[in-house]
């Protein structure tokens, strides 16, 4: 047997017969040619059953030619390379391709699920809602697994997609969506006028409908004209041509996404599997073409029933016979063109049935006024029953043997992009077309997508749209003469949808029949959106491209109202499915965000420190030690710091330089506590509030000069804090002369902590007087530290005697390593964020875990700080009754009674340990094991917490059935008098 029994001896402008390719479908080896789609090569090989349908597992064949394909759903590849839910019409053939038909076990030809269809009745609309109701306990055990097994498309791959996906951004004057005659004419006109043009088309080559059927432009072949035009475009540096690229989404302000299947291009090794373009276009020309409509008759889903233009296209573009003997049926003139194309490759034409009377063509076996009543054959087409289209009584019809039924119900303009841009639609009753009306955004539709179906009209409209779009974007150079075509047959179709009864499928992909739409109407559904969801009409991956119009007309008829009143469902992006991997490209894993590293980061990494994320920063958690686990290491870092000296990288804190005549007055307005009373050389802990009175950020403000301040913000809120400062300066108090500069990146800082820190710093900064009198708490001094010019702050987060040393970031690593070298004999211990966190919990200092956007200063025990001062941001709100009432949650310490207990994350604070559901008193905000106190500690927000001091409560985690007793204590667990701050 010939390997491609349904391939004509010659013809097919898309294929290269010198390069045969082998591929496997459902485990069988076949052959096709370079340039084939999987669909065309399957047809050439004589494979007619390509998939099984979604609900009834009926055998299905290839229906269409491109992205409108509802039936031929396949999975390509296996395991991690498996790509489910592809349309065979869109999969290019490649050597060794492995593909599998979907929805069938063990294969599409022998599918056990098909027994559903044999059982006779179909599942009506709403079947799932009506059937799988009760008892409720059967849902998980029986119904859900059953439905999951029977329904759905290809299985989702279980492993990550390791292919490479990319995103690109581009600006254009004119984006042309669609590279058929209208689109190419538009692109050529706009480009000649001088506009920067992007022309994107979903096929492997430009041409649109000219790929499927020949046409004439000027006095030459249409495709030859396309080639000449695109060659001219290609040569222009301001034009970008994209093949295999579907304009998928139209978003606000003319941002469009284009999904380019770049990896399919030959000779493009290393190209991403998909490149998702974001095109910001001044103007858009939508030349998206039209989709052929099906006709509704009994068995219109059988393999062998195919869109007429597709059947003709397989003959013309691929030299493939979609059958040996064809009945071509339809309601418009295109069927004659198709019949001749089929005949030209050797298909014998059994009949051409035209639902209209007249229209007889001598060279074809015409059946004027006749329509297909029923398809004969159960697994594939064996023939059809033709009857009078006007349904005259007594007409028994005539059986005609065939293996291909090519049907055309006219054309539906692809108005998707126009509608996505919120353009309005209108229904042309006479022509039975939904057409673009008012544009929503800077776009215009042209060609078949706007209802012009003749080649000359497409060229004319496309050209005009290109000229207009270029002019709107400011380009008006002369573009020359528009191309013309002798083809001016508009191919108008009278509205005609259905014949007879039986299983007439409207939505082939979701197995929705005409009876389902009727039933939905009888059951009271009126809105087209509700009918869509109830019957699943148009909800498949083809999004109703073939079914939408038929469904709409059926529903309108059932409801007895005009189509225009029924309206369409909402068109939403994407136009065709876009892989999640392409959308997620660049948004996952490493490289998603810029990584901020402090100046000492290399050192932390060299020490093998595990990092934690703090905003965009990464910070070392602890420094691993030989023979010690994580907890032991953190405990050691805490103990050694409290007993001797430790050093921690605090370079991630936000830092803001504030200068200007009104700097002090401004800070009084930004911070809840007064800053203008600070003396030069001194600093103060400060609380920033939001205007609603909640604590927003905290940090230290240092006065470096009369009109010069340096303040720190938290690592977590540094961006918001700076944004807040800039908002106030610009929009509330622009009269203040203040200059705020984010200097976070300019400074590196390290904190030396512990009783040994003074002796160490004395050696590192010999000219600096560190005595308490000369350098008291909260003082700042400029000094040379370890040979580097620095600012030294005396402040403490750990509760120990402590100095923070800040140097310009370029000197950060030098400072860090020199201090460590200097401190070697003192046993200076580098510690990470874990030990830092433990020590701050022991001291009851708050972070954003406590200042969580809901807490006021008083809630956090800092009410006194906010009581003084003037009309700062947020102060007035503190007087509102809601923020002063009793019963607010307040910050407390929880000392766990069992010294062996450890607190897990996510704990509540409750009154009793009976584990019964009860409203919690509050929740744990921070917790640690304190090596200093030898027990687990927590900070918590507890209702009326301060008044409960001394009470026993329970730290509970119901999800892990855990409850432990704890005593409510002051949040300052360690050294409440603060004597250790003096070393």
């Amino acid at each position: 047997m010939r390997r491609q029994p349904f391939r004509a001896a010659e013809g097919g402008h898309l294929i290269d017969r010198s390069e045969p390719l082998r591929f496997d479908f459902d485990g069988h080896r076949h052959e096709g040619y370079r340039g084939d789609s999987l669909a065309s090569s399957l047809l050439a090989a004589g494979v007619r059953i390509v998939a099984r349908s979604f609900k009834y597992h009926r055998p299905r064949g290839v229906w269409g030619f491109g992205p409108e394909e509802p039936n031929a759903m396949v999975t390509t590849g296996v395991r991690e390379e498996a790509r489910p839910n592809l349309k065979a019409t869109e999969v290019p053939l490649s050597e060794g391709l492995e593909a599998f038909g979907q929805n069938a076990w063990p294969s599409v030809s022998w599918d056990l699920g098909g027994a559903v269809g044999l059982a006779g009745g179909l599942m009506p609309a709403g079947f799932y809602y009506k059937t799988f109701m009760a008892p409720a306990r059967w849902w998980y055990s029986l119904y859900e697994p059953l439905i999951r097994r029977m329904a759905g498309f290809g299985p989702a791959p279980r492993t990550p997609d390791d292919a490479f996906y990319a995103k690109r951004r581009i600006h254009a004057d004119v984006l042309v969506a669609g590279g058929g005659p209208a689109g190419v004419a538009a692109a050529l006109a706009a480009a000649r006028a001088g506009a920067r043009v992007v022309l994107a088309d979903e096929n492997t080559r430009f041409g649109g409908d000219l790929l499927r059927a020949p046409g004439e432009v000027g006095d030459s072949d249409g495709l030859a004209w396309i080639d000449t035009a695109t060659a001219e475009l290609e040569a222009m540096s301001h034009v970008h041509l994209l093949n295999r690229a579907t304009v998928a989404g139209y978003y606000d302000h003319n941002l469009l996404t284009v999904a380019e299947r770049a990896g399919e291009e030959e000779g493009a090794p290393g190209a991403p599997a998909m490149r998702l373009w974001f095109v910001r276009a001044r103007e858009v020309v939508i030349a998206a073409g039209a989709h052929e409509r099906p006709l509704l008759f009994d068995g219109n889903d059988r393999p062998g029933v195919m869109s007429a233009s597709a059947a003709g296209g397989y003959a013309h573009a691929y030299g493939v016979l979609a059958g040996r003997q064809a009945v071509v049926a339809g309601n418009n003139d295109s069927i004659y063109r198709v019949a001749r194309l089929l005949r030209s490759v050797g298909v014998s034409i059994a009949a051409v049935a035209d639902t209209r009377s007249g229209g007889d063509v001598r060279d074809l076996p015409c059946r004027a006024g006749e329509a297909v009543e029923r398809v004969l054959g159960s697994r594939r087409v064996r023939g059809v029953l033709l009857r009078r289209a006007d349904g005259r009584a007594g007409d028994k019809g005539e059986r005609i043997t065939c293996d291909l039924v090519a049907v055309s119900g006219g054309w539906s303009p692809a108005v998707h992009l126009h509608a996505q841009a919120r353009g309005s639609l209108r229904y042309d009753e006479e022509r039975g077309l939904i057409l673009p009306d008012r544009a929503g955004g800077a776009n215009r539709s042209a060609g078949a997508g706007a209802g012009r179906f003749d080649l000359d009209g497409c060229l004319e409209e496309g050209w005009a749209a290109g000229i207009a779009a270029a002019a709107s974007s400011g380009h008006e150079r002369a573009a020359g003469e528009p191309p013309r075509s002798p083809d001016r047959n508009a191919g108008e179709a009278p509205v005609f949808w259905q014949t007879g009864g039986g299983k007439r499928f409207v939505d082939l992909q979701y197995d929705v029949t005409a009876a389902d739409v009727d039933l939905a109407a009888r059951e009271g559904y009126r809105s087209v959106e509700h009918v869509k969801r109830y019957t699943a009409l148009g909800m498949g991956t083809d999004q109703g491209k073939t079914s939408g119009m038929a469904g709409l007309v059926l529903l309108s008829e059932a409801l007895g109202r005009p189509v225009a009143q029924t309206g369409t469902t909402t068109f939403r992006p994407p136009y065709t499915p876009v892989p999640m991997a392409a959308m997620a490209s660049g948004l996952l894993g490493e490289g998603r965000d810029a990584l901020r590293r402090t100046a000492a980061d290399d050192w932390h990494e060299a020490r093998g420190a595990p990092f934690t994320a703090a905003g965009l920063w990464r910070r070392p958690r602890y420094y691993p030690r030989e023979g010690m686990d994580e907890a032991e290491t953190i405990d050691a870092e805490v103990r050694e710091t409290r007993a001797g000296a430790g050093i921690v990288d605090v370079g991630t804190l936000g830092k803001v330089d504030i200068q200007g005549r009104d700097a002090a007055a401004f800070l009084d307005l930004v911070y809840a506590n007064r800053m203008s009373s600070l003396k030069t050389g001194r600093g103060r802990y400060g609380l920033m509030l939001r205007e609603d009175g909640r604590v927003f950020d905290d940090g230290v403000v240092m006065r470096l000069g009369e009109n010069h301040f340096y303040l720190t913000t938290t690592t977590a809120h540094q961006h918001e804090a700076m944004q807040h400062i800039e908002l106030l300066l610009q929009t509330v108090w622009p009269e203040l002369e203040v200059y705020a500069t984010d200097v976070t990146e300019h400074w590196f800082a390290a904190a030396l902590a512990g009783p040994g820190s003074r002796a160490l710093l004395e050696r590192a900064a010999p000219e600096l007087d560190l005595s308490d009198d000369a350098f008291p708490m909260m003082a700042v001094r400029a000094a040379t530290v370890a040979g580097l010019s620095a600012l030294v702050f005396r402040m403490s987060f750990s509760g120990e005697l402590s100095y923070e040393v800040a140097v310009p970031a370029d000197h950060g690593l030098a400072l860090w390593t020199r201090l460590l070298t200097e401190g070697r004999e003192d046993g200076l211990t580098p510690y990470g964020t874990e030990a830092m966190g433990t020590m701050r919990i022991e001291k009851g200092h708050v972070t954003h875990a406590e200042a969580d956007g809901r807490t006021t200063p008083d809630d956090l025990g800092l009410g006194r700080m906010a009581s003084a001062g003037g009309p700062a941001i947020g102060k007035r709100s503190l007087e509102l009754p809601a923020l002063r009432r009793n019963g607010r949650q307040q910050l407390v310490g929880l000392s766990v009674i069992d010294p062996e207990a450890r607190i897990p994350p996510g704990c509540q604070v409750v009154e009793s340990d009976d584990m019964r559901p009860a409203p919690p008193l509050g929740h744990v905000t921070s917790f640690c094991y304190s090596p200093t106190l030898g027990r687990a500690l927590a900070l918590a927000l507890v209702e009326n917490g301060r008044a409960r001091t001394g009470q026993t409560v329970y730290i509970a985690s119901p999800v892990i059935d855990l409850s432990m007793a704890a005593e409510i204590v002051s949040p300052v667990f360690y050294d409440p008098e603060g004597t250790r701050l003096n070393g």
Partner: protein, 86 residues
């Protein structure tokens, strides 16, 4: 995605900006003198119209200016964009 014509930087993608809520809300000159009701009104009761809306956008990744933008919340059409001033 919006394309916001920044008067300083030119037309830029929305992703460069941070949203700042309704524009033109004046902070009471003397907060301490405001009644609870007046203060709450200033804090919480902002307009949320379907249609034209004046709002603040911060050009975070650009000039770092707060801009006042007229935006139709239904169509996303933008009107005048200017530097925000009290």
């Amino acid at each position: 995605m919006l394309l916001i014509p920044c008067p300083f930087c030119g037309a830029r993608d929305e992703t460069e900006f941070a949203y700042g809520g309704e524009a033109g809300i004046e902070r009471p000159a003397d907060p301490e003198a405001a009644t609870d009701e007046a203060w709450t009104d200033y804090l919480c009761f902002h307009d949320n119209p379907k249609g034209p809306h004046r709002e603040l956008w911060f050009h975070r990744d650009g000039c770092r200016r707060w801009l006042e933008v007229e935006r139709d919340t239904y169509t996303h059409e933008l009107g005048a964009v200017r530097l925000s001033r009290p």
